[in-house]
Symmetry: D2
Subunit: 142 residues, 4 copies
């Protein structure tokens, strides 16, 4: 639900992606691919795609069940596979799903598709909850 | 040598990193860490660090020995480990080294340190040369 | 179909896993987890799980449509996430799915579950076809 | 020092590798590459190389300063790049170095070379200390 979606981070504003869907263990992040995102080959920069994977995978693990509270996590490791080329003008959607973990660490899997459903990239992340963020209730945002 | 360093890509201009050193099998990319690069925890976004690793690792494999010519490659896979937190105001340097490969694929290892030499992140990439970019001489830029 | 499943490799015989299902873009590999597979903590060795991911992901890309022919590929990069602990006595099934790629390189995603369906590990691989193995028909086995 | 090197695990005995050097933040594991380690292409199985990386990287983080005590850790994530082919008869040495981390999680980087010094594979791992194993002194082995 849109009500639960928090304000964009500084890097999200710089790059232009947006958290669109956020539920327990699930997050969707979208980006309209523009000229500013391109690398020297005219395709989306690999780091841009890794950014979307990291963001969707991270949010998938820190959904907070108490309105106004917050959960925080740090990425420990991130992998990305670059499967197909997206074209400028495409709308990219990165889906992150928490796939496991325990009280302190969680794992997510992510994939990026374009608006036609073509698989553009995949990846995985391992994350660690910050102290106070282990429980689904989170803690009051500071 | 500075003469051999090409113009920044669109994504480099957006994010603010810069190719500083470029030699055969080696590249350095620097970034001044600013507020615009931060995530919801106040640290550099994981995707930013992955971007620097990808960029340094990729450039390390496409140095071109013929002035005016160019070599291109695509990232196949990228990994990043997030080892220590960098603070806003830090100057980050990502070093990429080509560590192996053949005519069509190359492998690079990268690391990011701050201006005090602290290891911030590490990573690895596998890349594929685009057709016409396999040889060190590259091909005329289009 | 069982008829299309090739003889086990030397490493498969050593470790004790088995290719059970093989179709275009899909492979399943099974292993009965025994004492010989354990690490110093009494769980399956991380390398064992990486072996199953690599095997299932690799086979998923080299199914050959012509009986008696063969396709070969090399792993370029492999990632594994270790999500839950499997217990000795468990039967592990690794599923590999080819998720994309082109004529020369392919990408697969893999996961390992125990006989109760619990997710034990996940991973991804990038692979390169050996010359002569690019087409689904493969080439005569030597 | 040889005195500090613990008994091989069950999987080490099965596969045939051996912990040869163990110091704080550093470990070396060796393997004589034999026919039993080969994949369907006649090279070392990717899972074998991942096993050596995982083992060397893991040991690098759990060296224990108190004789008779022990430290334990779990692999969270592991990556491997396959850089050059090793030939049967080669002696492989995997070196793992702990490169960072904190009280609960550590990161290691690993590489495998043959007896001529050729780089065969590289990789990285993130690990979590088991409870009681955070301090260098470890805890009494059970």
């Amino acid at each position: 639900m849109r009500d639960s979606i928090e304000a964009p981070t500084a890097f999200a504003e710089l790059v232009g992606y947006r958290l669109e869907v956020w539920r327990p263990d699930y997050a969707e992040v979208t980006l309209a691919l523009e000229a500013k995102h391109l690398n020297r080959n005219g395709g989306p920069h690999g780091g841009l795609l890794a950014t979307l994977i990291d963001t969707a995978c991270g949010y998938a693990g820190v959904y907070c069940t108490v309105p106004g509270n917050r959960r925080r996590a740090l990425t420990l490791s991130l992998t990305t596979q670059f499967i197909a080329r997206a074209e400028p003008g495409a709308t990219l959607t990165a889906i992150g799903r928490k796939v496991g973990g325990g009280r302190h660490v969680f794992f997510s899997a992510g994939e990026i598709r374009d608006e036609r459903g073509r698989l553009i990239a995949r990846g995985e992340g391992a994350f660690r909850y910050r102290r106070g963020s282990e429980a689904p209730e989170g803690e009051p945002a500071r």
